[in-house]
């Protein structure tokens, strides 16, 4: 090893300055994550669900009133569309995608399906009202690049503060692939070449492969019983303290206001319900009470906007035996329990909507 300086050297001090300056470049310009193609393999699952529901929407157009659920992935895990539509006598479209996309992006996708006379059930997850925001920028930019989405004011906004470097620079992979058409074109080409095979191979028996989503966008893999406690995941949902939430300017509130306007313009009925969830076995009744309080807060805003409540806070909770693998993902038993409640609540609504159409 050399001394501090030799005849060819720049000196150890200058070495440190130059190499550290170069090293910090990614932080300064926001370059993060290298490579092409969807940065988040979960894209394919949401893409498959959305494509299925979109196909079904096209096939059921004019057979209204249709019931369109809009929310995170809790929707396809809780709403068994086929059996529910047999019970209520109307087509059911469960447009529920990975919550990390952001509820604004999900709602804009669902809005393309809304027609006059439809019943739109907005069922956002509690995390969409968190003040920090819970957006997965990789997933969101994948979605924007692959599927496109017009009218987004700040397509990569609403990300947690810690991801600011990822989103504030056009050198960022996420923002770059959204804003640079050449980059986006390369990403699309590689993604089409690779297809969803990578995602389909994802290890583990959890069943999140795209082959377990049918042509109507329904989740079809069997979900017999609750997983072990370690697999509940989604711990942030348990942080139900009021200071973590923003019921004025959060992405959830703004999307609710936007969706109310869209429904009014299209002549559709807007209904709301809390997202369906199971109750972790280790939480006490005070936890459910706090969840219900937060749900009540955003539903009051929905009340002011003229939306009707389909299910009240607390009515979308099932016991621990209804969980599949997380707080928001129900198993067959949990989905069956929710179906009873949805069917009971929707029958009258569908009947009235049909009568008013006639």
């Amino acid at each position: 090893m050399s001394s501090d300086r030799d005849h060819r050297g720049m000196g150890a001090g200058w070495f440190l300055v130059v190499s550290l300056a170069l090293a910090l470049t990614p932080l300064v310009v926001g370059l993060d994550g290298l490579g092409f193609g969807p940065a988040d393999a979960q894209f394919w699952w949401s893409d498959r669900v959305a494509a299925g529901v979109e196909g079904k929407a096209a096939r059921t157009e004019g057979r209204g009133p249709r019931v369109i659920f809009v929310g995170g992935s809790s929707v396809p895990f809780a709403v068994r569309a086929r059996s529910l539509e047999e019970r209520i006598g109307a087509p059911v479209l469960p447009y529920g995608l990975n919550a990390g996309l952001g509820i604004d992006l999900i709602a804009r996708g669902a809005a393309r399906l809304i027609r006059r006379g439809d019943i739109v059930v907005f069922a956002p997850e509690l995390q969409h009202f968190r003040s920090e925001g819970t957006v997965n920028p990789a997933l969101r930019s994948d979605w924007l690049v692959m599927r496109g989405m017009e009218g987004m004011e700040d397509p990569l906004g609403h990300a947690p503060l810690r991801q600011w470097t990822a989103l504030r620079s056009r050198w960022s992979r996420y923002r770059g692939q959204v804003e640079w058409e050449t980059y986006a074109a390369i990403v699309r080409a590689i993604a089409r070449l690779k297809g969803d095979r990578e995602w389909m191979q994802f290890p583990g028996p959890h069943g999140y492969e795209t082959r377990y989503v049918d042509d109507d966008g329904n989740v079809t893999f069997p979900r017999p019983g609750p997983r072990s406690p370690e697999q509940w995941g989604a711990w942030y949902v348990l942080e139900v303290a009021p200071e973590n939430y923003d019921f004025e300017g959060s992405i959830g509130v703004r999307t609710l206001e936007w969706l109310a306007r869209v429904c009014a313009e299209r002549g559709a009925m807007l209904m709301v319900m809390p997202s369906c969830h199971a109750t972790p076995p280790w939480v006490g009744p005070e936890f459910l009470e706090r969840v219900s309080q937060r749900e009540e807060q955003w539903m009051r805003i929905a009340d002011r906007l003229g939306a009707t409540r389909l299910l009240e806070p607390g009515a979308t909770a099932v016991g621990a035996d209804g969980a599949f693998d997380s707080f928001q993902h129900l198993n067959d038993r949990g989905a069956a329990a929710i179906e009873e409640r949805l069917a009971a609540a929707l029958r009258g609504v569908v009947g009235e909507a049909r009568a008013s159409r006639e």
């Binding site: 300056a21 170069l22 290890p203």
Partner: protein, 461 residues
């Protein structure tokens, strides 16, 4: 806190280096060492405060025991056995109790198995360091350190959780004169950059494909199965050697030079040479404190073979409580026995053939090392022997995805100088600065792009 996280690189490390430099310059070496000790305990405590108590308890008890270990005294031998036994018992309680009770439960000896416990990070490493110190103390080869120096010897954060396993005789003199200089900082940053690049760019990128493959090991075509074994071999090498490089670079910031842990192991042309290049500090420990005390190669061929097998079985068990690790140790023990016997014949094997056989043993050995169960290992072995009847499958057999990282990793492992050789060539010049900064920039781009960075594989051991 993992070395390859934003919190460590941008908060913990600058604060620690800054505080150490300030304390060392203004208040002397004692203050510098106090800062290092405090930072090391904070580093460890951020993982788990309960386990910090285990670490501190181990240091206190061993410090007292070490004080009583005086060569020539009548009680020393018994005290040494008790001290080594206590350390192994602590390790065994956390690491092996659940496994052993499960075996006994299966055999009908116990009525119930113990639940698995969270393993205190680095316990396998600091236990071995402590045992080596105690043994040498009893032999009269080590002075008593005193509690504070003992604490820093065990808790020094660059090598606390996954080595290199350091010997007291090489660490303590360095710690006693620890200092920060620009020259050491430059060299440390260069080695740290190599390690970070290895870990986050190569190892973490291969991890996904390795995880996918080992989750579904049955029925893979022949070539896909070997590619999977190769993927894991490279992932493990770049992960662990990357960690070791980072540890070496970090220690260098404080003027401490850690021993080399990896010397291009995949260039080895025999299994014996592989073990002189792979996890060198563990090999050295096993040789010095297990193989040689058992008699080494001095007592005939049969006894040598037994000693080799016992040493490697212990090496396997050290990595984890499970039959898969025992099998891995047995494979390498048997290979070393064959290697030893071949050497006795005096026939020189062509280097290419030796390399091929060595890599076959190593790759086949990594299968049980990584597999979740013996059944999974057997399934992948079957595929590697052509059991599926297929030669190769397209993308969905994990060929295309890891290819860029596999090729780059293989080239780096087989054709490039290792980090020890590079560090010897290093000079603080502009080209080296650009290389260092470039490696760090690319690595940090990966770090910033990952929301949940993978931990180091050897943290599990």
């Amino acid at each position: 806190m993992v070395f390859s996280t934003v919190g460590f690189l941008f908060v913990f490390l600058p604060l620690t280096v800054g505080a150490f430099v300030a304390a060392r310059r203004c208040l002397g070496v004692g203050a510098g060492l106090a800062v290092l000790t405090a930072a090391s305990l904070a580093f460890y405590g951020m993982w788990n405060q309960g386990h910090l108590a285990v670490l501190l308890g181990s240091v206190v008890v061993n410090c007292v025991l070490a004080a009583g270990l005086m060569p020539g005294r009548p009680w020393t031998r018994a005290l040494l056995w008790a001290a080594v036994g206590a350390n192994l018992l602590l390790l065994g309680w956390f690491k092996y109790a659940a496994f052993l009770s499960g075996v006994l439960f299966s055999a009908g000896v116990l009525g119930a198995a113990l639940p698995a416990r969270a393993l205190p990070l680095g316990i396998s490493f600091f236990t071995f360091q402590t045992v080596a110190y105690l043994v040498d103390r009893a032999r009269g080869l080590a002075p008593h350190m005193g509690p504070w120096r003992h604490l820093l010897f065990i808790s020094f954060f660059p090598q606390l959780v996954a080595g290199p396993i350091v010997h007291h005789s090489e660490m303590m003199p360095q710690l006693d004169r620890a200092r920060a200089s620009a020259a050491d900082g430059a060299a440390g940053l260069f080695i740290l950059a190599i390690g970070l690049f290895k870990k986050v760019v190569i190892a973490d990128s291969l991890a996904y494909y390795s995880d996918v493959g080992f989750a579904n090991p049955a029925g893979l075509p022949l070539i896909n199965a070997w590619v999977l074994a190769g993927t894991y071999a490279l992932q493990l090498y770049f992960d662990f050697s990357g960690y070791s490089d980072m540890a070496t670079g970090l220690a260098r910031f404080f003027g401490v030079r850690l021993p080399a842990n990896f010397l291009s192991p995949y260039k080895a042309t025999s299994v014996a040479a592989f073990w002189r290049r792979w996890h060198v500090t563990l090999s050295e420990f096993l040789k010095r404190y297990v193989y040689i005390p058992l008699g080494g190669s001095r007592a005939g061929a049969t006894r040598t073979a037994v000693n080799l097998m016992l040493t490697m079985l212990l090496g396997g068990i050290w990595h984890g409580a499970g039959w898969t690790f025992i099998l891995w140790g047995a494979i390498h023990g048997a290979a070393l026995v064959v290697n030893h016997a071949w050497r006795g014949l005096g026939v020189v094997m062509p280097a290419a053939l030796g390399w091929g056989l060595t890599m076959a043993v190593v790759l086949l050995g990594w299968v049980p090392f990584r597999a979740e169960s013996l059944a999974d290992a057997a399934a992948l072995w079957e595929s590697m022997l052509g059991g599926s009847g297929e030669i190769v499958r397209g993308y969905d057999g994990n060929l295309l995805g890891p290819a860029p990282y596999l090729l780059a990793g293989a080239a780096a492992a087989l054709a490039c100088p290792n980090s020890v050789e590079l560090a010897e060539r290093f000079r603080p010049t502009l080209p080296w600065a650009l290389w260092t900064g470039g490696m760090l920039a690319v690595a940090l781009a990966y770090v910033l792009g990952r929301i949940e960075p993978p931990e180091f594989l050897y943290y599990e051991f």
